[in-house]
C-alpha cells in the first residue's frame, strides 16, 4: 500500500489502467514503466494541497473511464462480475480520498465521521463535491431495511457518455463510484456493501441510486452510541 494519499481520481485511475497503457508507452520510449517529469517532481513529491482546486478535462476522463470499462470487460464472465471489477477499481480511491479530504478540511472541522449520518453527509457533500463539483441529489434511508441507505445521483458523471447495450441492461458502470463510496465507508470503520442501480426516469434517463448496506456490527455500535 502506498503511503501517499495525494492521488486524485485521475492519477489513481491512470495507475489502474497502466497495465494496458504502459505496455505501448514502454515500446515507444524503450524506458522503464515509471516515467518521471523532467524536473523529477512526481505527484508524490508535491504538496497535498496543490491540486486542491485543479480540474480535469471531462473528455479525457471519459476516454480513460471508457478504457477502464473495456479493460474490465475483457476478463469477466458476467455482468455481476464486471460490476464487481469496477467496484474493486474504485475501492482504493475511496480509501485514499478519505484521508486526503479530511486533511484538506479546515483544522477545527477535520474529524473522522464516527456516526452513520455524519459519514453519509461527508459522502454526499464533501466527497461528491470533490469528485463531481456538486453535491449528490438525494440521501434517503430505506423504508424496509434500516441498515440500508440510498444516495441518488440524477446524472452520474461517469455514465454521461455511456450507452449500455440492451443485452446488458442490468449493468450500471457507476459501480466504479459505488466502489469509491465503499472504500470511504470501509476506511472510516463502517464496513458496507455499496451497489449502483439505474432507475432512469423520463427527465433523468441516467438516474442512479447507490445502495449502501451496512454490516450488522455497524448498526449494533450505532445503537450503543445512541444511548445517553
Amino acid at each position: 500500500m502506498s503511503s501517499a494519499p495525494s492521488l486524485n481520481l485521475a492519477a489513481q485511475a491512470k495507475s489502474l489502467t497502466s497495465a494496458s497503457a504502459a505496455g505501448t508507452l514502454q515500446q515507444a520510449s524503450n524506458q522503464s514503466g515509471l516515467r518521471y517529469p523532467t524536473n523529477r517532481k512526481t505527484i508524490y513529491d508535491r504538496n497535498l494541497n496543490r491540486s486542491r482546486n485543479a480540474e480535469l478535462s471531462r473528455a479525457s476522463f471519459a476516454y480513460l473511464f471508457g478504457e477502464m470499462v473495456s479493460y474490465a470487460q475483457r476478463r469477466v464472465t458476467g455482468i455481476q462480475d464486471l460490476e464487481k471489477r469496477l467496484n474493486t477499481q474504485g475501492h482504493p480511491i475511496g480509501l485514499r480520498l478519505l484521508d486526503l479530504l479530511l486533511y484538506r478540511e479546515p483544522a477545527r472541522s477535520a474529524q473522522r465521521p464516527t456516526r452513520i449520518l455524519p459519514l453519509l453527509q461527508f459522502i454526499t457533500t464533501t466527497l461528491w463535491r470533490h469528485l463531481f463539483a456538486r453535491p449528490a441529489d438525494a440521501l434517503e434511508r430505506s423504508q424496509n431495511n434500516e441498515d440500508e441507505y440510498m444516495i441518488s445521483d440524477n446524472d452520474p458523471l461517469v455514465n454521461q457518455y455511456i450507452s449500455v447495450p440492451k443485452e446488458m441492461s442490468q449493468l450500471n458502470c457507476a459501480a466504479f463510484v459505488a466502489g469509491i463510496v465503499e472504500g470511504v465507508c470501509d476506511g472510516t470503520g463502517f464496513p458496507a456493501r455499496v451497489t449502483a442501480h439505474g432507475v432512469g426516469t423520463e427527465m433523468w434517463p441516467g438516474k442512479t441510486v447507490f445502495l449502501i448496506k451496512f454490516e450488522p456490527e455497524v448498526l449494533e455500535r450505532e445503537s450503543f452510541l445512541q444511548k445517553p
Binding site: A59, A62, V69, Y161, S163, M168
Partner: protein, 152 residues
C-alpha cells in the same frame, strides 16, 4: 427578405446518414414524417454508391490549375436538387456524415458540425461501441433527436 424566406420555408432536416471509412452504412435516421422508406438493403447500396462517387469526385479536376490548390480536393460537399439538399461532411478519419435537408435550408454545415460533436461524445466515448460498426447508442439517439427537434 431572409426572415420571410424562413417563415415560408421552415428549416427542415429530413434525414441523417453516417458512412464509415470503408463505405458501410453505420447509421440512418429519418427526422421527418412522410418520407419514402427504403429497405435496409437499399440504404446500404445508397451508402456504398455515395462512397464510391465521393471518392471519384475527390480525384476529378476539370483542368489543371496553375497554382495547385492549397488543400487536397475532398470530394462532394453539397448536392442540390428540387426536392432536397444533401450536405456531406467528411471527418479527418474518413467517416462521412450526410444530411438531407429541405432545398432552401441554410447552415446545414453548422448542423453537421454539431452532429459530429454529438457523435464524438456519445458514440466514440462509449466503451461498448466498436468502431466502424453500426451505431446503437441510446444516448446518441436521444441527444440527436432533441437537437434536431430544437432547430425546427
Amino acid at each position: 427578405m431572409l426572415d420571410t424566406d424562413k417563415a415560408q420555408n421552415p428549416r427542415v432536416v429530413f434525414a441523417l446518414i453516417i458512412i464509415n471509412k470503408a463505405g458501410g452504412l453505420i447509421y440512418q435516421r429519418d427526422f421527418h414524417e412522410g418520407l419514402t422508406k427504403l429497405s435496409v438493403n437499399d440504404y446500404l447500396i445508397l451508402a456504398g454508391t455515395f462512397h464510391g462517387i465521393h471518392a471519384i469526385t475527390a480525384r476529378l479536376m476539370p483542368r489543371p490549375l496553375a497554382p495547385p490548390p492549397p488543400q487536397k480536393p475532398t470530394g462532394i460537399e453539397v448536392l442540390e436538387s428540387d426536392a432536397f439538399r444533401l450536405q456531406c461532411f467528411q471527418t479527418l478519419t474518413g467517416t462521412k456524415f450526410l444530411l438531407f435537408t429541405e432545398p432552401h435550408q441554410t447552415n446545414a454545415d453548422v448542423v453537421l458540425r454539431r452532429v459530429y460533436e454529438l457523435y464524438a461524445d456519445y458514440v466514440m466515448k462509449n466503451p461498448f461501441y466498436q468502431s466502424e460498426m453500426p451505431i446503437r447508442c441510446e444516448a446518441f439517439d436521444r441527444h440527436l433527436g432533441s437537437y434536431v427537434k430544437s432547430r425546427q
